[in-house]
Amino acid sequence: MYSHFQYVNNMKTILYFTGIISLFFLFSCSDKTNENALNKDASLPDAMLDKVSGLQVINSSINKKKHTTSLLYGNQKTVERLKSNELNLQKGEKLIWITWHQKSDPNWIGAIIPGKLLSLEILESVGEKDAFNYQKFEGNKMELQKDTLGNAHRIKQLLNQKKANVPQL
């Protein structure tokens, strides 16, 4: 009863549906993370992630001539120091300053966003009194900078930063 003709027909149907179903899976399993929606240039390498977690944003700044933009973070101690207009690093403070090259925003004409990572600086008070630790990581790979020339100038700049206004509420 089961003729060759029927067999071929059944095979055709099976193949057809297998095709459709596998196509369905092919599309539904495509990468949903869509990394295009992330700013990869500006992102920190995995090893440097979470450095700023727990810190608060102090301010954002731009250098129009160098085409760079920076974000300054600090801990609660830093926030308290800035309220009192004190310019010396206080015990228990931690500041992180990240700087990027600027690039055009592909989604908005006339908007400029962080581009390639330039540097990440950490200024931290250690132990008692005035002791502190300053580190600067540079480039997209975030390599620790050994040249200490110019550090004092940067530290002074860091401590001179003001906190941006935010609503009281």
């Binding site: 993370t33 941006a164 206004n165």
Partner: protein
Amino acid sequence: MKKPKIYKRKVIVIPVIILLLIFAGIQFIRPVITNPPVTGNLKVPHEVQTILRNSCYDCHSNETNLAWYDKIVPVSWLVAQHIKEGRSGLNFSEWDKLSAADQKAKLWESVNQVSQGAMPLQSYTLAHPQAKLSQKDLKVLENYIWGLRVNNKPQDTAKIKALNNQTEELKKVEKSVKIPKTPNGIAYIADYKNWGVVSTTQRLDNGTMRIIYGNDIAIKAIKDKKINPWPDGAILAKAAYEEVEDEDGNISQGAFKQVEFMAKDHIKYKKTNGWGFSRFKTTELIPYGKRADFVIECMNCHKPMEKNDYVFTLPIRQ
């Protein structure tokens, strides 16, 4: 043997006649598309005006020019709807009804929509291919708005004064307890200042700089690279500031201008593409929008970012 043939023909002919009659009948339920008076036309250079007239004016002005096929039902129903929505979002013939700042913002947004390929609508250009913009047309529009960008004045005393006044005010004012709410029922979230940062932007079109924050759910989604779509519960906050520039080109944050929120909930905010929009202006946090439907404005602007779950910001993993 002849009978079935006639029968077959009837099977085809009768429904066709019925359809034709229905088609002819519905022509009488034609929507009225009128051209209300032009109260104040957009004033731009002739070259720019020509492009806008050719590509935008059919839906975004009171000088709609219908093709004969636009008037046939059911196409005309769709056309009428497009024109109604188009004029309510942007009407170059009633340009005088907008403030100078809003005029510039609207025009900038419009050119950005064209450059993102969101406008003119594909369904419109399919039927009206002459409305398509060439790369040259787009360049003309972009160059024009580029000329409208803000150039900071170094040591701008007005901006410095505004910042200092605001700083002093913030020291004085007693913390208010009443949480402001937008007309669509979204309350201000005071904690945004303690959230992680998603990105920053400098906007040359209006001379502002912004910090975009994300709540824990949003920051985790960025770290996990799962932001398309963003998970329910994710909230983004964008705080805008004036820019204060010194003689050396250093730009710092001036006075706080406003904070805007996008809260993701694909069920609760289904009607607004899964996002609850809100905006609070000045440090007094005055809710933006007169009626709940102010969100149409938000949605229209975010429409070109459909591929990025309606978010403009490209998050930075940090």
